[in-house]
Amino acid sequence: MYRTAANRLLHHASLIKNSSGSHLLRLPILRTVIASSRFSTTADLQTFPNQTFNPSDSSTSSSSSSTAGDDSRHGRKNPRAEYEEEQARVLQASLRHVIKFGWSEEAMIAGAKESGVSPSIVGSFPRKEAALVEFFMDDCLQRLIDRIDSGEELRQLIPSQRISKLVRIRLEMQAPYISKWPQALSIQAHPMNVPTSFKQRAMLVDEIWHAAGDEASDIDWYVKRTFLGGIYSTTEIFMLTDRSPEFRDTWLFLDDRVKDAFDLKKTIQEATYLAEAVGAGMGSSLQGFVGKVFQR
C-alpha cells in the first residue's frame, strides 16, 4: 500500500517538474494528491515544501485548463484501486454466504447487498464465480503468510513436521467450506480458470517450502515442489470425504504422505550414492583395463 501511495506521489511530483513555470498549475495537483492518497496531509505538504500559490498569475489560463484535464485522467487511475478495494469488500462479504449458496453468483449478490453496493457490480467481475474462489485462495495464502511470519511454534519443528503443519494450517482454512469445496475445485478446474488456479497453487507450495527453510535453487527445486503439490492435492481430496471428527484421518494421512516423501528422498539419495560408488568402481577398473591395453 505504501508503495502504491509513494508511486502516486512520485508521479505527481514529476508532473510538476515537467510543467514548471506556472504556479497556478500546482494547486489542483496538490489538491488531488491530498484527496487521493492515504498519507496524512502533513506528509503531502512535506513533499511540496516550497509551494507558493499565486492567484494573480493569469498568464497560464490555457495550460492550467489542460492540467485540469490531466487531473481527471489521474483521478481515473485512483478509482481503479478503489474498484479493487470495492471488489475485495464485496467478495469478502460473499464468503459468508458461500455455505448457503455455494460458490455462485447468488452468494456474490448477497455479499454485494451486505456491503451496500448494487449487486450489479457482480456482472463486472471477470469470470464470475472464479473471482470468488480465487479471492478466497489469495486470502488464505495471505493468512498463511501472516501465520508463518508471526509463528514461533513452527521454528521448533523439524522440516518434515513443519511441512505437514503448514499444509494442515492451510487446509484447515477450507474446513468451514468443506461441503461446498468440491464445487470450488470444479470451478478451478475449468479450462478458463486453470492458469490462475495453477499459479495460485504453485505460489502456495512455494510459500510452504520457503517457510520450511528451503533455499535450494537446483533441479531439486522442481522435484520438491512437485512432491509437495502432489501431497497437498491428494490430502485436499482426501479431506472431502473425511467424516472423522475434526478431520483426524486427514491429518494422519497427511503425516504419512509427508513421511513417505522424506523417506523416498532418503532412498533416492542412497541410490545416488550407490550409483556413484558403482560408477567409481567401474571407472577405475575401466581405467585399469585401458591402461593395460595401451601398455602393450
Binding site: H11, S14, L15, N18, S19, D70, R80, E106, S120
Partner: protein, 289 residues
C-alpha cells in the same frame, strides 16, 4: 509520462475543431451524413422511428440475418440480472431487451425456488422501458400482451427523453441502451444522465452498431450497408429514406475507442468494450462506483 499526457490532451482539445465529430458538440449536428440544426435532429429521428415502428423487428431480422437476437442475448448475459433488480432500458421501445432481462431473472428464480426470500425479491423487480417515441412503446406493449406479460408488474413503460430522465438519482441497478445512443442529439448528456440515475455498483451497458476495421470485411460491410440495406428497406418496409439514415448514422457514430473515452469522461469506471462480428456491433460497459 506527464508530457505525453499533456500532448494527448492538447490533441484532444484541438482535434474536435478539425474532425467532424465535433459537430456533436456544436450547434449543428448530424442527421446521417446531412448536417442539421440541433432542434431538428430529434424531430427527424422521431419521424424515422414513427415510420419504421411497425416493421422494426421484421427489418432487424432481415438486416442482421437474425443476429441481433444473439447480440441482445449477449448484452443481457453481460449484465447478469438478479431478482429484485431495478433496471432501466432506454430506447428499448419494442421491449426486446426488457423481455430478455425478465426471462433471465425468472430463470434465476427457478433455480433458487426453495428460497422464500427470493420470491419477495421477485416482486420488487422493476424493469423500466423508456423510449422517447410513443409508437415504439406501443409496439412493445402489444408484444408484451402477446407474450402474456401484459399484467406483469415488473415491466413499466415510460415515455421519456434519454437526455433528461425522469428517474431519481441513485435509483437504478442497471442501465442498458441498445441501438439507441446513435440517434440522440447529445451523447454526453445521455451518459451523464445514465451516471446520475445509477446506484453505486450499478452498471451501464450499451449495445450499438459500430465501426469495422478488418480490411476486406470492411469493404464488404460497406457495400452491404450502402447498397443492400436501403433497398431492403424500400422493398420490405416501403421506406428507403429511414434506412438510408440508419446506415449513415452508423458511420457518424464515434468509433469504439472514442466512445469508450466519452463513457469514462462521464465518470464511469472499468470502461470496456467488446466487438461482435468484427465490430459491426460493440458492447460498451462501465461501472459506477
Amino acid at each position: 509520462m506527464a508530457l505525453r499526457l499533456v500532448t494527448r490532451n492538447l490533441r484532444n482539445r484541438i482535434s474536435p475543431k478539425l474532425c467532424s465529430a465535433s459537430l456533436l458538440h456544436s450547434h449543428a449536428t448530424s442527421f446521417g451524413f446531412k448536417e442539421v440544426r440541433e432542434e431538428e435532429k430529434s424531430q427527424m429521428v422521431g419521424k424515422v422511428f414513427s415510420n419504421v415502428a411497425s416493421n422494426y423487428d421484421l427489418m432487424n431480422d432481415f438486416m442482421s440475418a437474425g443476429l441481433h437476437r444473439l447480440w441482445k442475448d449477449r448484452l443481457v448475459s453481460k449484465l447478469s440480472p438478479f431478482p429484485g433488480m431495478k433496471h432501466l432500458d432506454v430506447a428499448g421501445g419494442t421491449g426486446d431487451v426488457a423481455f430478455r432481462i425478465l426471462e433471465s431473472i425468472n430463470s434465476i428464480r427457478r433455480r433458487a425456488l426453495q428460497d422464500p426470500i427470493n420470491d419477495d425479491l421477485q416482486e420488487e423487480t422493476r424493469i423500466y422501458v423508456c423510449d422517447i417515441n410513443q409508437n415504439m412503446l406501443n409496439v412493445g406493449k402489444n408484444r408484451a400482451l402477446e407474450r402474456g406479460l401484459g399484467e406483469v408488474k415488473s415491466l413499466v413503460w415510460v415515455q421519456g427523453d434519454a437526455e433528461a430522465l425522469s428517474f431519481e438519482d441513485n435509483s437504478m441497478d442497471g442501465y442498458t441502451i441498445a441501438f439507441g445512443i446513435r440517434n440522440v442529439t447529445h451523447i454526453e448528456k445521455v451518459l451523464t444522465e445514465a451516471y446520475r440515475v445509477l446506484k453505486r455498483g450499478g452498471r451501464f451497458l450499451c449495445l450499438e452498431l459500430s465501426h469495422v476495421e478488418i480490411p476486406v470485411f470492411k469493404e464488404l460491410y460497406d457495400l452491404y450497408s450502402f447498397s443492400v440495406i436501403p433497398r431492403l428497406g424500400e422493398v420490405v418496409a416501403g421506406d428507403r429514406e429511414s434506412y438510408q439514415y440508419l446506415v449513415e448514422s452508423i458511420r457518424r457514430f464515434p468509433p469504439q475507442e472514442k466512445f469508450a473515452s466519452m463513457i469514462a469522461d462521464a465518470g464511469f469506471q472499468m470502461v470496456e468494450y467488446e466487438n461482435l462480428v468484427g465490430g459491426v456491433v460493440a458492447i460498451h460497459s462501465g461501472l459506477k462506483i
